[in-house]
Amino acid sequence: MLALLSDEQQMLKEVAAQLAGSAGPANPGDLRTLDRDAAWRSLAQSGLLALRTRDDGRPAGSGVEVAVVAEALGAGLVPVPYLGSAVLATELLALAGAHDEAEALAEGTARTGVLLDRDLSALAVLPGDQTVYGWDVDGAADALALTAVPGGHQVVRVSLATGFTAANGADLTRTLLRSDGPIDAAALTPVGGPLSDEHLRRWEALALTALSADTVGVMRSAVARAVAYTKERVQYGVLIGSFQAVQHMCAEAYVQAEAAASAVNYAAWAVDELDPDEALLAARTAKVQCATVAREVTETVMQVFGGIGQTYEHIAHVHTRRALTDRQVLGDEGVHLLRIADVRLTGE
């Protein structure tokens, strides 16, 4: 047992952090001017969009590498659809054997998102007349969903060009589109071969882990920003970081973010190393931990920043919005606690 990043993974972490550092906003206003396409191109050029393409049937990068990149981009609040296109969609395509389509996404020229159901808790199963959301679809022409076929599911592509309008999404760093349906069978283009339940459990394990890694990044950088602020802000003639009340708030937030990171690291390793049920249990555990603490940690950060931290001009709420949205996507802690209980208490 050695639960530490390898030297190569450590290097990847530094590369990803460097990339993310220059591609994310320092202030919410930057979101209007950031060159998102340039950021996407540099991710493609560094090969970071290709981690879940297959090489002789094996993923080019493991769940650990995906989590490392997702955390770095979360930490930088980088407004690119890495999770939507390079992880969630690419992994679906690869599992379905649609390798050419997966490669196209990896090159960064095409982007594809995913369609989620009305409460964001699962991939949409179409056709249907329900409301669905295209999540993390910046620059994407289409998004993937599922359709039921005998013995499993089939990945289908849905064009975002018609029937979708911009939703008033909380997360300012991701694009959210909405369709109030109906989306009928004629609008669905099958991609690749059918997916078994095992495929979908594998996909869910990776997807939950990557989302959780994003949340860990968002939380860690938020806490770091708050701690840095306590070292410059003076009240009553002293730095506010010298007050024990403020120190303990920061320490608590730090502990929660670190605990979440521990759960995510294991889930990330489990994605490709354990059987799908175990990997999924580890991923649900990470998602529960992240979803549970995301609100409190980012709220604590806003509190440390005081009045300025409540304003739209300040970066704090961008962290909060991204963390709260991550919390809902593919199910919040309530959803996954019940699934964990099924495994623990009835051996399902």
Binding site: M1, L2, A3, L4, L5, S6, Q9, V64, V227, T230, K231, V238, L239, G241, S242, Q244, V246, Q247, H248, C250, A251, E252, Y254, V255, E258, A259, A260, S262, A263, N265, Y266, W269, A270, E273, T285, V288, Q289, T292, E333, G334, L337, L338, I340, A341, R344, L345, T346
Partner: protein, 375 residues
């Protein structure tokens, strides 16, 4: 990164598991009499030692096996899985001795500590020195080739059953408070040592106070240099907070299993709220375990334990106390009417987890310091 056992670790785990399954004394957790329970714990210590399971990560020259600290983690985990009696916590006293003791002291004190022939307690806190440990007032005055110790210690857990004590006392009253403290290895049978049990809120004598009246300690039983006591104490508590030296993960898992059984017995497993709460308790235990595995890995790769131990300590206290809250919610009035025997005691036993070994507030101070927040 690999959370799996290596081939050697897997082999060790398998043979340990087999050994445990035939060796764990039946009904050990049903013993009511405290003296009988202590006798059993000591016997279990000796049994573990004879089978080679004590001091796995200790150097071979002091009776250990010279293995990586990962093996301590495996022992911890399997004992929890198979519901073995609590593991003796020799790690942190041993750590202090083999980091600071002279060669002769190591040979004298380490083997019987490891074998369970001699059990130890820790004489640190005092009535007026709790979180502010460095303000301790117990004195050790040099008198020729002896120190003469006077004072009172509190929260000396296991003091009533211990043979020896790792004692902190002030040797230089004129030095700054952190610099004037020395550490000693003292027999609890010396004349002038009086031990009185402290009954905690549960009604059980979980800990003790110890009075020191003109207790004479030979100079060669000072641990480390004069004035080095504070550094020794900090090393000890850091390891006490650390992941593998204390059996908290094993204990937690065992208690969780009991709480799950409790909910099942009471027909509560159909309630979504109960299911969520039990799953949450599982998640807390997993997070604690995984955080400890990372710390263990850092230790294996040569990094000494640092303030990350404070993260684990806070997670542990929270997990332990939340689990007792959950049991209380499941049991309802039965915990208050004496129907559910033992659970109120477990509840009160979980409360000091956020006090001993450095209170939760002290741990947060340590983390704030690690974050380099202003003093």
């Amino acid at each position: 990164m690999d959370y799996r056992d290596t081939a050697e670790e897997a082999e060790f785990r398998a043979s340990l598991r087999e050994w445990l399954s035939t060796t764990i004394p039946a009904g050990w957790d049903k013993i009511e009499d405290e003296d009988e329970a202590v006798r059993l714990r000591k016997e279990w210590h000796r049994t573990l030692y004879r089978a080679g399971y004590m001091g796995l990560s200790w150097p071979e020259e002091y009776g250990g096996r010279g293995l990586s600290p990962v093996y301590d983690g495996i022992l911890n985990e399997e004992c929890g899985n198979l519901n073995a009696p609590p593991l003796p916590s020799v790690g942190y006293i041993g750590r202090a001795i083999f980091m600071y003791a002279g060669e002769e002291q190591k040979r004298r004190f380490l083997p019987p500590l490891l074998s369970g022939e001699v059990s130890w307690c820790q004489g640190f806190s005092e009535p007026e020195a709790g979180s502010d440990l460095a303000s301790l007032r117990t004195t050790a005055r040099l008198d020729d080739d002896h120190y003469v110790v006077n004072g009172q210690k509190m929260w000396t857990s296991g003091g009533q059953y211990a043979d020896w004590c790792l004692l902190l006392a002030r040797t230089d009253p004129d030095a700054p408070k952190h610099k004037g403290i020395s550490a000693f290895l003292v027999s609890m049978t010396e004349p002038g040592v009086t031990c009185r049990p402290i009954v905690i809120a549960s009604g059980e004598a979980e800990t003790a106070e110890v009075f020191w009246d003109d207790v004479r300690i030979p100079v060669d039983q000072r641990l480390g240099a004069p004035g080095e006591g504070w550094r020794i104490a900090m090393t000890t508590v850091t390891y006490e907070r650390g992941p593998a030296d204390i059996g908290f993960i094993a204990n937690y898992r065992r208690t969780l299993r009991k709480v799950e059984a409790l909910a099942a017995e009471r027909g509560l497993l159909d309630l979504p709220e109960t299911r969520k709460a039990l799953a949450r308790a599982y998640v807390r235990g997993e997070v604690l375990r995984l955080n400890c595995m990372e710390q263990l890995s850092m230790r294996v790769s040569g990094r000494p334990p640092g303030p990350e131990g404070s993260v684990a300590k806070l997670l542990w206290a929270d997990a332990e106390q939340s689990l007792q809250h959950l049991a209380m919610d499941i049991l309802g009035a039965d915990e208050m009417t004496g129907v559910a025997d033992g659970w109120l005691s477990s509840y009160f036993t979980s409360r000091p987890v956020s006090v001993y070994g450095g209170s939760a507030q002290i741990q947060k101070n340590i983390i704030a310091r690690m974050l380099d927040m202003p003093r």
